[in-house]
Each structure stands twice: as structure tokens, then as C-alpha cells.
């Protein structure tokens, strides 16, 4: 898989670590009910098809990216800086 890093350009997936679904960007408030934390930590849509994930370019620019990828075909359709996605 080639991941199109917005900073470095298309780079081999070996340079990255996948952290899992981008649901982890939406961290609940500290006083959120336990159900919200359970959903954040454990429950997943686990889609067969398009998904959004957090990838870390640890052997490159070290940026965190939100990568759009298809879990059935492995096609990578886009990547943006996680900081920009989270700021919106």
C-alpha cells in the first residue's frame, strides 16, 4: 500500500504504523458517562468497505494522518493531516 502523505508525498506503508479507526480522534470529555468511554475504547463499526483510520508516519515526517482506505480492496483514496481534521 502507498500512503499519500500530505507532507512527504506517496510513501510505502512500511514507513507507517496504523493506530486503528479514526474514531479515536473524538475523545470523550473526562466527565462523559461510562457508555461514551466504552464506545470510544472498544466498540467499532468495523466497516467492510470505505473506512477512516489514523496512521503515524513514524519513519518519515512523524505526522499523524487520517487515511481514507477501503478494507475490502486495500485501495487508499486519500490522506490528510490529523491536526487539520481534528481542528474542524
Amino acid at each position: 500500500m502507498l500512503i499519500p502523505c500530505p507532507v512527504c508525498g506517496p510513501r510505502d506503508s512500511r514507513e507507517f504504523t496504523c493506530k486503528g479507526h479514526a474514531v479515536t480522534l473524538a475523545r470523550p470529555q473526562a466527565d462523559a458517562p461510562p457508555e461514551a468511554w466504552d464506545a470510544y475504547l472498544h466498540l467499532r463499526d468495523n466497516p467492510a468497505g470505505p473506512t477512516r483510520e489514523l496512521w503515524h508516519h513514524n519513519a518519515g515526517c512523524t505526522a499523524w494522518l487520517v487515511v481514507e482506505r477501503n478494507t475490502v480492496t486495500h485501495a487508499v483514496t486519500g490522506a490528510r493531516l490529523a491536526g487539520e481534521v481534528a481542528a474542524r
Partner: protein
Amino acid sequence: MRYSGWQVLAQGITGNRGWRPAWRDPAPKEAYDIVIIGGGGHGLSTAHYLAKEHGLTNVAVLEKGYLGGGSVGRNTTIVRANYLLEGNSQFYSHSLRLWEGLEADLNYNVMHSQRGLINLFHSDGQRDAFVRRGNMMINQGDDAILLDREGCRKLLPYLDYEQTRFPIYGGLYHPRGGTARHDAVAWGYARAADRRGVDLIQNCEVTGIDIAGGRVTGVQTTRGAIRAKKVAIVVAGRSSQVAAMAGLRLPIESHVLQAFVTEGLKPVINHVISYGMGHFYISQSDKGGLVFGGDLDFYASYAARGNLPMAEHVAEAGMTLMPMIGRARMLRSWGGIMDMSPDGSPIIDKAPVEGLYLNCGWCYGGFKAVPGSGNCFAHLIATDRPHKAASAFRLDRFETGRGLMDEEGTGSQHNLH
């Protein structure tokens, strides 16, 4: 027909014209007492034990493809009971005891071979951890023997003991561990369940789960609607999609695990060897192929195939451990869909819908569990009470944080196992 050596002889001298299909190919009925979704190892064994131990035969197994086409026919066939944690260890112990009587129970040769499993260790600390594990296994009633380096060398003379990265200090030997023929396990359970009257329905994909007043009433399928008093979801890598049909969101992520096999060779590896530090394990199939694998690719996937980085990593680890493997030609590689749970342990429990039962989260270790899982799941479905060997596999342990079974000690979060 009962299979036996006598049958092989009798059929052989009469031109092998008497063999019959091993199971029927029935059309789905309008209603069953119990519908099992998924004709993998766990679904088929559940059907067998429902019929055999609970006398429940008005049962259908619905399989969207063909029997044994999922991970049960794609795994590297290791069968062992060397778990550490309370909750896991008694379950796998129960499962291994069922394996040991399986061929007689099913009247089917599943080629279960207890050739012994050796987990290598590479430091004093790792040895201490394996001593503890071995003692837990012995306390559980299973077998474990600590081998030092010379003990390992006697059994496995072809390993590179001096490798600079991870020199081999010894191994934990589990003589009752081994392998089995994966397809035969699916076929044996299928035939045994069919002979007791269970309908095995292939090319029948479940597309919806019917619920009325908080109670399950049946399923929608590509072969029509089927009513059922109880519905069991046993679809491994597809658990999230099927559970979503009942409005459930599961603590599961589906990942790809790859495996590899070489051309057939004369007997050279007589045991199962696990080289955890290199993420590599290997055995030799009865056909002669060296069967080996490593870790997950570590991204979510339903492709049932992986990518080159992990293939290279596994090949490198193999070369490090046993340089001779470089002389063998790799024949095939493939992948399977793994239902990964946050703590790496499975779920066998009632779903929060009346009449709906859930069996999932087997990660990359569900083949050895096929007998135990079906046996305990059948008990749960038939009696509405958990089997004592599987009572720790609760769905709510993530929500409550009580009873987590993090066998590897890496944490209870996705992507850590």
C-alpha cells in the same frame, strides 16, 4: 455409512462405487427451533453438540458460501492448551480433551497429530515467564516440560542457536500440542451433525435478523425468510456486519493474518515451533509442505489477502531461526479475516436481544477452540446458562472492565494483539 478400515477395504475391492456424499443438501424449511449463522468450524461444532448432547436436531446451519470456506480452511492448524490466565486455561484444556476423543466421536479422521509444541525463549526473563506459564498449565492438568538449550537441540537440531539477535536459551515443551487437518475438522463435524438430522444449508447468506418486541423471531436470507426461536451468530471475521443486523455494535475489529506453505519435502520438522520474538511459527503438514506464519498485517481488512511487508518479515524471521528454510521454495500464501477483540480473548455469551446468542472474538487462535467453543456454545443455547469452562467469555467485560483476559499482557485496546 460408518467409516472404518473395513469399509475402505470393502469399497476398494468393489471399485469404490459405494461411497455416498458425506451430508445431504436440503432446502431450507420455513422454521427451525435454532438457526446457526455461519458454517465454519465453530458453527458446525455447535450444531453437532446441540444434536448430540442436548438432543436438539430441529436446527439449521446457514452458510453464505460453502462449508469450510472461511478461516477454518485457511488456518495453520495448531492445536494446543498452553494458556496462562484463569478463564482461558480451563477452556482450552476442555477443548484439547475434546480433540483427544474427536475422531471416535465424529467417526471421522481429522488427522489430529499430537507431535508436540515448543515455544522458544531467548532471555532469563522470558524463561521465568515460561516457567510460570508451564506451572499454570500443569496446575490446570495439562502438560509442560521446560527444556534448556541442549534439550531443545536434541529435538530441533537444525535451529540456529547462536543467532546474534535472539540466541536461543531453551523452550517450553507441550507434548500434547500439535496439529490437525483443518478441512477434515469442518467436514467431520458437518457429517456428524447432518447424520443426527441438522440441516446444513450452503449458498444461503443471512441478510437480516428479525426482532419483534425485543425477541428474535427469525432471519432473512438470500434463500428466503426462515423463522427461528433462537438465533446464534458464529461468523468469525464477519461478526460486526451480522451483529449490526440486530442493531448491535461489537468490540471487534477485523484484521488480516497471512500464512505460507512451501513445496512438499521429506519429513524434516517433527514438531510445531513457535518463535515469538521473531513473530514466526512453523510446522510440517502430512503432505510435506512447511506451513508457517507470523503476525497480523496490523490494519483492518476484509480482503482475505495481505501485503508484502509482513510476507518479507515472516520470511526474514524464518531465515534467522532456521537458515535451511531458504532452500525450500514457497508455493502459496493466503490470508484470512480475524475477529480481533480488545483483550485478545473470545466472547461466548447471550446478546442483549432475547433469543440471540453471540460467539466471536477468536482472533488468530480459534482453530484449537473449535471443539470447546461448539460444546460450550451449544450448552449456552440449549440451557441459557454458560458452560463452566467458558463462563469468563462475557460480552460485558469491556464495558465493566471486570474479567478482562489480556493473555499477552499488552493492554485491552484494539490494535495491541
